[in-house]
Assembly symmetry: C2
Homo-oligomer: 475 residues x 2
């Protein structure tokens, strides 16, 4: 029996037909209206509720479309059988929904940031605008590996500046190195497939590889980078490395060590090296060193990965990988139907940014700014602590330094007292996945990319106060 | 012994120091220069090669940085031991690199396209430009699940227009439904986990689930959508469905069937329904029907997925999913450290587009245009073939129709003759992963989104010529 006591509220933000639909659907679900019941005619109900006939009609049509009612020609609307869902639909409680934002420290020396003031707003914005009005074809799906014109520019750039040996057809563009690593893991995993990762090192690759079904073993980093003996012992068939600039120690892998890695890969079929060239653009003393991939050649066992997170901005999600031939075939078989994950407007903006020479000029400008900042940081730290109290490593490349405080109070105490003084930084031990006891003592990682130059003296003074208990002055 | 017979070419695009570096590195790798050999002094070599001292210095520093040379203070540069890579580095041949582009047909009735002329270029471009200049914080990493302001707008929209019951904290934004489905598969896979997929249906979800380690079983679609008996028999613990508008048959799942699916999910812990609401915005006869997720509630066993590929553009890669509580916790544990895959500029452009009311106006405009196009296509096809020769299904929602040609020559012949007449379309049988013999005969899928209205009569005439052998006129 239809209950007409409910109220329709013409002032509510929910339209009247929706309110009526919900009331009627609720009465059917609750069993108040039964299978076979005939609903009032549309005019009659509209009159009773003082709403337009159209309102009733729309609600009835929705109920028909959803399967609550059946419309029988010339006789009206009848309730269909409703066998309900679970009487108590399982309602698991929600976890705390949003984590409260951390308060921003006065000085942020974490390593993921860049100097946003260096972003080429004007050029990027102009190209973006021109592309939006250039024609509608950029709204359609593009090539699944990434737009062909972008991949051609990337191949030219990677060959000239990173010594990468590749054809545009080997390049896959994707929304971040993490996404691309996930695809690689899916391609390469299988019985017996394990990956060696660097210890200390960046923990994200390990998380991604393991989430995608590739177990990881950590292999120690010595003064030349990943240890070949450790790699051999690990039994791994994949090896994730950052040879240009090991994260976070800053070691550049010498050519002899690179050759050893290539020999390791050549010793058994199916071995691959995943070379993450995450910040090699920022080599201050010379042109960046050629990639390991270039040494191996376009068909060699190296997958080259790089990102534009540091050279443009972390929020513009463009990365790419260069696949050797056999993997390219497997990639196309497995993922050939996947849509590309990067907006074509941003792909094409980057394409023109590269093709028109803006990118290399932008890099030169960033490199100059970052080099100046690093040198100033070194000077101010040496002045604040005295050269004999600290050791600084990693001044040739990248966007972070390692600082060791001789006779310091231990890494944890250094982190904590820096934090209390308004400086967010992380100890080197935090990057050890295993064997943290091998970590050099009293050593912290200083990411300087997002510092403002003029605040560097205050930062150095804050660290000195935090760690030595008194302000300023050389020791 | 150093070979000085090589040529440095000042006119080449490769800088001189790079040319010199490559020659010297090559001589060390080839064994012409031996471990312990002393290189000529910088001035002396510069004189012999007629280049600047700086050029030699840069090349030497690169060789030192790479580990080819050692610089001994006050005595010069000495060759280090070089134990080469594999003598014949494995060089697998590259597969054919770029597939030749397919020639564009005169009429493209495939289902992935949209009408790019409807894209709101002006508003989108203006918001984008304002955001670029609004401040540098959009260059930094945002929230890993997607910008909070965007998720708040999405929650409001999904609640109001799709009946989705959710808090912004349950939403995860990502670069396409495919990417999000991949994450879901990684979260949910495990021993005994299999997924039911629709047959006929969209093949991509199956590919993604299987690539991510979730085996799939296909379950038949009847007149009300996915068969609950088939689902039960499949032994699956996950169920991928398109209840609002089954792809490609166009069936809308009635409420009773939805309740059956929810009962299936409630019957065992760990069962989940993945509801892909890929084109529900385009319901022509009424407001889109509420989602299955809304029926289950925010903690129920449904993951809701939707994309902006059809409502904005396929090349703007924004999709989202709404996770029930238990999955949200697992998501954060597994993927909490992953960077979001969507550019923050595009996230924020969409956020303002939603918040300022443009999106619902844009949808209304698209819905009007697509409805008019669908109706015109129906009229022209009925005029060209006669109402008794064809049956058209799927006129209430979505961007495609099913056409059945009574007494037709078979689906394959229809596809081929249409293609010869300049019309790209796909037979319904192509969407059957199994049991293709159950496919209704002579039925093809007509995606009309990217047709131009004025070409519809010519398209109908082309199909008539292709399938009936004579042009125009009712039969």
């Amino acid at each position: 029996m239809l209950d007409l006591t409910f109220c329709l509220d013409p002032a509510a933000s929910i339209p009247l037909y929706q309110q009526l639909y919900e009331s009627l659907a609720g009465q059917i679900r609750s069993g108040r209206l039964h299978c076979g019941d005939r609903l009032p005619g549309k005019r009659s109900l509209a009159g009773q509720l003082a709403v337009a006939v159209n309102t009733v009609d729309t609600a009835y049509q929705m109920l028909v479309a959803e399967g609550y009612l059946e419309a029988r020609p010339k006789s009206g609307f009848f309730v269909l059988e409703y066998v309900g869902g679970p009487s108590q639909p399982p309602q698991a409680p929600l976890p705390p929904l949003e984590l409260p934002p951390e308060p921003a420290p006065r000085f942020d020396l974490s390593t993921g940031a860049v100097d946003t003031a260096l972003f080429p707003f004007r050029t990027w914005g102009r190209i973006q605008k021109e592309l939006l009005y250039a024609g509608p074809e950029l709204l359609c799906h593009g090539h699944r590996q990434g737009d062909g014109e972008l991949r051609r520019e990337l191949a030219v750039y990677l060959r000239a500046y990173r010594g990468v040996a590749c054809d545009p057809g080997q390049i896959v563009v994707g929304a971040g190195v993490e996404y691309l690593l996930g695809l690689l893991a899916q391609l390469l995993r299988g019985p017996g497939c394990t990956a060696a990762v660097e210890n200390p090192g960046y923990d994200r690759p390990r998380t991604i590889l393991e989430n995608n079904g590739v177990p990881c073993r950590s292999v120690e980093i010595d003064g030349s980078g990943l240890s070949p003996a450790g790699l051999e012992e690990s039994g791994a068939s994949l090896c994730y490395v950052t040879p240009s600039h090991h994260f976070p120690t800053g070691v550049t892998m010498p050519v002899g060590r690179r050759a050893q890695l290539l020999r390791w890969a050549a010793a058994q079929p199916g071995r691959y090296i995943l070379e993450d060239d995450y910040d090699a653009e920022f080599r201050f003393d010379m042109r960046p060193l050629p990639s390991l991939q270039g040494m191996a050649g376009p068909g060699g066992p190296v997958v080259y990965l790089c990102t534009f997170s540091k050279s443009l901005a972390p929020s513009i999600r463009i990365a790419c990988m260069v696949l050797p031939g056999p993997l390219l075939e497997r990639y196309r078989a497995a993922f050939g139907s996947y849509a590309n994950t990067v907006s074509r407007f941003e792909q094409q903006t980057l394409r023109r940014f590269l093709a028109e020479g803006y990118f290399t000029r932008h890099l030169a400008r960033m490199r100059g700014a970052y080099k100046g900042r690093m040198e100033r940081l070194v000077r101010e730290l040496e002045a604040a602590f005295g050269r004999e109290r600290i050791r600084l490593q990693g001044r040739h490349t990248g966007l972070h330094l390692l600082l060791t405080l001789l006779d310091g109070p231990g890494e944890a105490a250094m982190e904590a007292s820096a934090f209390a003084a308004g400086v967010r930084l992380r100890g080197l031990g935090g990057y050890y996945m295993e064997q943290a006891e091998r970590c050099p003592a009293n050593t912290v990682v200083l990411g300087y990319a997002s510092l403002r130059d003029e605040e560097i003296p205050a930062l150095a003074a804050a660290l000195r106060r935090a760690w030595l208990g008194s302000a300023g002055g050389t020791a």
